[in-house]
């Protein structure tokens, strides 16, 4: 009952016989729409970006799941795929990009570097230790260095599942 609650008169509809059914059906319809159309941002940081393009390319074809519209402008994206190593110099930029995205927005951390720094955890002075250390909440972590395209597709499906089960009113 997330989106529907915001509509004035939702309480009224609920009181009508069958109104609850109508509300839940529309809610799941809206969630279906949200889950089936996750537009990622064209935002490659490092190695994983190549695998992200490969996921969009013929053999794997992320567009089958409705997520093939890579938008370059953060205003039109739903999911930020953090694909690659986050460096200190890039921190503010990523925070700003995340802030520029309109709600509801989701974050996929693709690859070990985006999760924790990965193989660049030790002995480096310029690598941020993961997306979460920037204060950005990550929805799906996809490990691998780099993850295979199948993993990204699986991660996407997990995100879709998560959206369908969503209860968090903030979203």
């Amino acid at each position: 009952m997330v989106v529907i609650e915001k509509i004035p008169g939702a309480e009224l509809i609920r009181k009508v016989p069958g109104g609850g059914f109508f509300l839940t059906t529309s809610e799941s319809f809206l969630k279906w729409g949200k889950a089936s159309s996750l537009w990622p941002m064209t935002f490659g940081l490092a190695c994983c970006a190549i695998e992200m393009i490969a996921t969009g390319a013929p053999r794997f074809d992320i567009d089958r799941f409705g997520a093939g519209v890579f938008r370059a402008s953060p205003r039109q994206c739903d999911v930020m795929v953090v694909a690659g190593t986050i460096c200190v110099k890039m921190n503010d930029c990523i925070r700003r990009l995340y802030a520029q995205m309109p709600e509801p927005k989701y974050v996929i951390a693709l690859g070990n570097c985006a999760i924790s720094g990965g193989i660049f955890y030790y002995d480096t002075y310029s690598v941020t230790k993961g997306t979460e250390s920037l204060g950005i909440k990550v929805d799906v972590f996809i490990p691998g260095c780099p993850p295979r395209p199948e993993n990204l597709l699986f991660g996407l499906m997990k995100l879709q599942e998560k959206i369908r089960r969503e209860k968090d009113a903030a979203r």
Binding site: A46, C47, I53, A57, K89, F120, Y125
Partner: protein, 373 residues
């Protein structure tokens, strides 16, 4: 800001930030452009958004432990990076590897060169506005190479296949067949690109005489690889300072005439053809024997310093390695080709249009992973 003030109209240059997140900066490059209308007055690249301090890491890893990190330098041509690094360590250790390993390295390196050039061509076309189709065609072909590598070493992008003293695993019979099949498959595809892109009128109009890099300038800026050859300098380490078994194969070094964006593209297309030739010869003449010299995992070279460079798809990748009497390198300097190639960009784009900067940048085929290291 200098503004030209006439009676009541005055114009002003304006500043635009391209990147770090921009579809055609090939990763996280940031370009600060001063524009006069659509014309570029000044271009200042800001790099370092992917500075992962590889050189610091190298000082704290053993010689073998650093091989996986080289994968992530130029992540489109990981095998070539592996090769460059293990060869410098072998030079430091004065290690001689077997003939079969040499041939396998040549085949793998050339396959990866093709994969890398495919991405270069695809992204260049994408930058020129041929949205996604050429890029996806290139990825389709690249997928075949990746499949071979996947079977060989179990990863699709970061292979970690070369070892100090040889390679990780021998070819199975199956792989030789696959490579042969790939050569047959790839040849007509390269001709397809000629149909789709090379002689397309719009493509020619966009890339001919754009970003002309003269011979002298290219050498002075230490441009290497296909970009240097496109400017008309016949310089290829595989021919001029042959390493591995390159002196045993017949191949041409394609050279451009004008040094413009189109020439840089065309040289890459031709190099794919030449690489196919090399692979074909190498796979025919593949000698029998071991693929790796038995050496331990820990190496302890005597204190010395060595520089070695190999011909990477993007230019000459050099490693300057300094050893002390420990199992860690004292210092490892990575001389990455894209770093020098990018430095020339501000000179080339002055006076061009915004659309051209994307074209010039795309034609240089830079990769932030190895620029920032």
């Amino acid at each position: 800001m200098d503004a030209t003030q006439t009676k009541d109209i005055y114009t002003e240059e304006f500043l635009i930030n391209m990147g770090p997140q921009h579809p055609s900066t090939h990763g996280v490059l940031s370009l600060e452009l001063t524009l006069d209308g659509e014309t570029i007055v000044e271009c200042t690249p800001h790099i370092g958004y992917l500075h992962r301090s590889m050189e610091k890491i190298a000082e704290n890893r053993t010689y073998t432990q650093f091989i996986p990190f080289t994968d992530r330098l130029d992540y489109v041509a990981s095998m070539n990076n592996n090769l460059g690094y293990v060869m410098v360590v072998e030079k430091l250790l004065k290690l001689e590897i077997s003939e079969r390993a040499k041939y396998i390295r040549v085949i793998i390196a050339e396959l990866n060169r093709i994969a890398s050039h495919l991405i270069a061509i695809g992204t260049f076309a994408q930058d020129l506005g041929a949205f996604a189709t050429p890029l996806f065609y290139c990825f389709r072909e690249r997928e075949k190479i990746v499949e071979i590598f996947d079977q060989l070493c179990g990863n699709r992008l970061t292979y970690n296949y070369m070892r100090i003293g040889g390679v990780l695993t021998d070819f199975s019979r199956d792989i030789e067949e696959k490579i042969k099949k790939f050569i047959k498959y790839m040849r007509p595809k390269v001709d397809d690109y000629d149909w789709l892109l090379t002689y397309n009128a719009i493509f020619l109009a966009r890339s001919k005489h754009i970003g002309v890099l003269s011979k002298e300038m290219a050498v002075n800026y230490s441009i290497t690889g296909p970009n240097l050859r496109a400017s008309g300098v016949k310089w290829d380490l595989r021919k001029d300072e042959p390493y591995l078994a390159y002196d045993k194969f017949e191949f041409d070094v394609p050279v451009g005439k004008n040094g413009d964006a189109w020439d840089r593209y065309k040289v890459r297309i031709e190099e794919i053809r030449q690489s196919l030739r090399i692979i074909e010869q190498a796979i025919e003449a593949l000698p029998q024997g071991d693929v790796a010299v038995k050496v331990g995992r820990i190496h302890k070279p005597s204190p010395s310093e060595t520089y070695f460079r190999t011909e990477n798809p993007r230019g000459e990748l050099g490693f300057y390695i300094v050893s002390d009497d420990s199992v860690y390198p004292y210092r490892l300097k990575i001389r990455s080709p894209s770093f020098s190639n990018l430095a020339v960009l501000p000179e080339l784009v002055r006076g061009l249009k915004v659309a051209d900067i994307v074209c010039v940048l795309g034609s240089f085929d830079i990769l932030m992973g190895e620029i920032d290291r």
